[in-house]
């Protein structure tokens, strides 16, 4: 048996942290991880934030980002331990034997240089190819990765191409020097779902055609299942489980892996409209100051008490603008909103205190949605005081009740937001909304910034609260799995228009319009071969037309 391309043994990684008001101290963030990667194989590294997956990926180039230090163990690449190598030898390895694709290509390309120059730089610099050879190779890669106008796209500057295209250019940059190993660090996470599938397919085919080995780092198990041969599950710097894709997806052994596999499988029975709608949005058009086109045009939706309307769409679809219009932050150019039987004033200033109380909002970033100088008790207590005039012991009692409802409890009363985890912060925001006894809560991407398991917890909590309090949700999201999990009615938005609207079962059943079909089929599914089957289907369809 030949030596593997990459052999990692008992890798330990440390970092220096700077806790406020204390002396800086060293902590260990990866506690002894070992794995092998054979030539031409793809290993998926998966885990939630803080699992140490990116750090391990960069360690295969002997690189520590920021204050990260590789403190122990061995990393063998092509038969030598690079942690013991001299800087000159490590430089000869970077960009030649091992290359890197980052999450944000937009930030990783130098804004002052043309794309071509940056793509071929490593190959030329490391004397792998002459300048002409490298340029020819880059053009071939551009074509292979499905970039438009592959012969000339290299002459553009990074800001002149789209995000999805730039991510493919970054892949070309990594493949151009003909490396043995490419580290993909969340290469599709920042992309819209319909773009993600194209980039994913391009990366997969490029890997297959060039026979390069890869470390594929992501938090999305469904994505990694499409491109990897093996998967390693990481959690808090420890390996949890390590096996073939088939075993991890279809037969996970560890509890944590099982939880990751079954994430977003919340079942939710669709409710039918029961009474008059609590919210009626009628023919809304809106635009931001200084723009010449509408961001929302002629959108009408309804939402019934105790139910959930999911507004789904990609970036630029106008879904968040709809929320701003309903809350009164952006008065519409046309159309009318009625809420709980009354017509809402288009301006925030014109709304009654009851209008404001009964319509609450929860934000995507719980971090910025809470005043860092106020305790949890103050944050949740303020609406009680403001709307119901509760004071002292009475207020405190109600705050504790709410804390119990969001499964946190009394001990959180005097904590500050900075002392809470991401999921706990979002729960406090939910409690603040509930404190107003609202009829409707607008949830703007409330689970997008959270790790999948934490997000699941929040969704379950929201569903339970809906049952208990009979509150309606307007749920804005780009994530179709979330939509399936909680909605009764769905509105699909595309470029400011209502593309498709109806009950969950209607919207999610064929016949589809083109965009909804594209959107639905682009959501990664947790099964092997999903990517190929979708791409094959699409090819067939376009051939059939």
């Amino acid at each position: 048996m030949s030596e593997p391309l990459l052999k990692v043994r008992d890798l330990k990684i440390g970092a220096t942290i700077f806790p406020p008001g204390e002396k800086p101290r060293d902590i260990e963030i990866v506690h002894g991880v070992s794995f092998d990667l054979e030539r031409g194989k793809v290993l998926g590294l998966i885990g939630e934030s803080g699992a140490g997956k990116s750090t391990i990926g960069l360690a295969s180039m002997a690189y520590g980002r920021g204050g990260v230090k590789l403190t122990g163990g061995e990393v063998w690449v092509n038969g030598r331990d690079i942690l013991q190598s001299k800087l000159g030898d490590i430089r000869a390895l970077r960009g030649a034997e091992v290359t890197y694709v980052s999450q944000s290509a937009a930030a990783s390309f130098n804004p002052a240089k043309k794309i071509m120059e940056q793509v071929i730089e490593a190959a030329v610099e490391q004397k792998k190819f002459s300048r002409n050879e490298a340029e020819a190779r880059a053009r071939t890669l551009f074509a292979k990765l499905g970039l438009p106008d592959p012969d000339n796209i290299g002459d553009r500057y990074p800001h002149q191409v789209s995000g999805g295209q730039l991510q493919r250019c970054m892949t070309a940059l990594a493949l151009c020097p003909e490396p043995d190993l490419v580290v993909f660090d969340e290469p599709t996470t920042a992309l819209d779902v319909t773009t993600q599938i194209d980039v994913l397919m391009a990366i997969k085919e490029a890997i297959k055609d060039t026979g390069v080995a890869a470390l594929y780092i992501t938090h999305d198990l469904a994505v990694v299942a499409q491109v990897s041969d093996d998967i390693m599950v990481l959690r808090m710097g420890d390996m949890v489980e390590y096996g073939s894709v088939d075993q991890i997806i279809n037969n996970p052994q560890e509890e944590y892996t099982k939880a990751l596999v079954s994430v977003r499988s919340i079942e939710h029975e669709e409710k039918t409209p029961n009474s008059d709608p609590v919210l009626k949005v009628d023919g809304i058009s809106a635009r931001y100051k200084g723009l010449t086109h509408d961001v929302l045009s002629n959108v009408s939706v309804e939402l019934h008490p105790g139910q959930t309307l999911a507004v789904v769409g990609e970036s630029g679809s106008g879904k968040s603008t709809l929320a701003r219009v309903i809350t009164g932050l952006l008065p519409p150019r046309a159309g009318e909103i009625s809420f709980a039987g009354r017509t809402l004033s288009p301006e925030l200033a014109g709304r009654s205190r009851d209008d404001l109380r009964e319509l609450q909002m929860i934000y995507q970033m719980a971090d910025t949605a809470m005043n860092p100088r106020q305790t949890v008790g103050t944050i949740i207590g303020r609406p009680l005081e403001f709307y119901f005039g509760l004071r002292g012991a009475e207020k405190r009692k109600r705050v504790i009740e709410l804390l119990d409802e969001i499964e946190l409890g009394e001990k959180f009363l005097d904590r500050y937001p900075a002392e809470l985890s991401g999921g706990q912060k979002q729960r406090v925001c939910i409690a603040r909304a509930l404190a107003a006894k609202p009829k409707l809560i607008i949830c703007d991407e409330v689970t997008s910034a959270l790790d999948p398991l934490v997000a699941d917890g929040i969704l379950k909590l929201l569903l339970n609260l809906q049952k208990a309090e009979d509150v309606a949700y307007l749920f804005i999201t780009h994530d179709l799995a979330t939509v399936r999990a909680i909605s009764d009615t769905i509105a699909v938005m595309y470029q400011g228009n209502l593309q498709r609207y109806g009950s969950k079962s209607e919207v999610l059943s064929p016949p589809f319009d083109d965009y909804t079909d594209l959107l639905l089929s682009s959501v990664p599914e947790m099964r092997l071969g999903w990517l190929e089957s979708v791409v094959a289907n699409r090819k067939m369809e376009s051939a059939g037309n």
Binding site: P20, M361, P372, R373
Partner: protein, 271 residues
């Protein structure tokens, strides 16, 4: 005290001493401010700890009284610039619209002329008295406070917790005092230290140029001016007030630096 870094402790200590001397000047100073006690430029001795000045007054006494004037003018100027600058800055940030535009463009205009030059232009037609000095310096410097206060308040007012307060129906007063101010306080206090230093340097420079505090009143910049002829003869009397200005400025700077660092780390936690 144990959480305060050593540099900030030094800064606090010296700042404290200077302020103490300023407040209790008449009790500490061995001689009167205008009292001629000896010969011209006598060297330091047991009766005149820092020697005498260009007309034979006790330099230590003049330094203590001068410090009092300098620190008083700088403090008053700083307070004035802060009250005006931060109120207008917060107002512009929260209200926005044309009021913001009008104020901000006007501040841009004032700042397009170097502060010292503008002060000289204005002082050329004004009677130079201490209240006028304070008003002119305070008003000119309030432009900088305005910019900072507005920038900080704009940063905070686009935060979602401020939006949440607006959606709740809170009044502008609540939003400014409960949501924005507690989060803006630390950077503003740090800036206050820097503005104070600037004021000390500014009033000293004006007095040194003969356009600030007028004799027989003493202030540090004025003492430099009075004794500058001595330099050429190798008499270092003029360096003493200049040294006092520098140490005061550095001390306050060390404190401001510490406050600012505490602020940035506060973003992550309560510290």
């Amino acid at each position: 005290m144990k959480n305060i870094p050593i540099s900030a402790q030094i800064g606090l200590f010296f700042t404290g001493i200077y302020f103490f001397m300023a407040i209790f000047a008449p009790l500490i100073a061995p001689y009167g401010v205008g009292e001629i006690v000896g010969d011209v430029w006598e060297p330091a001795s047991s009766s005149y700890l820092l020697g005498t000045d260009n007309i034979g007054r006790d330099l230590l006494s003049r330094m203590i009284y001068g410090g009092r004037t300098t620190i008083f003018i700088a403090t008053a100027g700083t307070l004035l610039s802060f009250v005006i600058g931060s109120i207008l800055g917060f107002f512009a940030a929260v209200v926005g619209g044309w009021a913001d535009q009008l104020l901000s463009r006007f501040v841009d205009l004032i700042m397009s002329i170097p502060t010292l030059i503008f002060a000289l232009v204005v002082l050329s037609v004004m009677p130079v008295t201490i209240p006028i000095l304070i008003v002119v310096m305070g008003l000119l410097d309030s432009t900088r406070v305005y910019r900072l206060a507005r920038a900080v308040a704009v940063d905070i007012s686009v935060m979602e917790y401020v939006e949440a307060a607006r959606l709740r129906g809170e009044k502008t007063g609540w939003i400014i005092f409960r949501e924005i101010l507690p989060n803006a306080l630390s950077p503003l206090i740090a800036e206050m230290g820097l503005r104070f230093i600037f004021m000390v340097l500014f009033v000293s420079t004006l007095s040194f140029l003969g356009l600030g505090v007028q004799p027989p009143e003493a202030d540090w910049g004025g003492i430099v001016k009075e004794n500058k002829e001595g330099i050429v003869y190798g008499i270092p009397a003029a360096l003493i007030p200049a040294f006092a200005i520098a140490t005061l400025a550095i001390s306050v700077n060390l404190v401001a630096d510490w406050v600012l660092n505490r602020t940035t780390s506060l973003k992550g936690g309560r510290g």
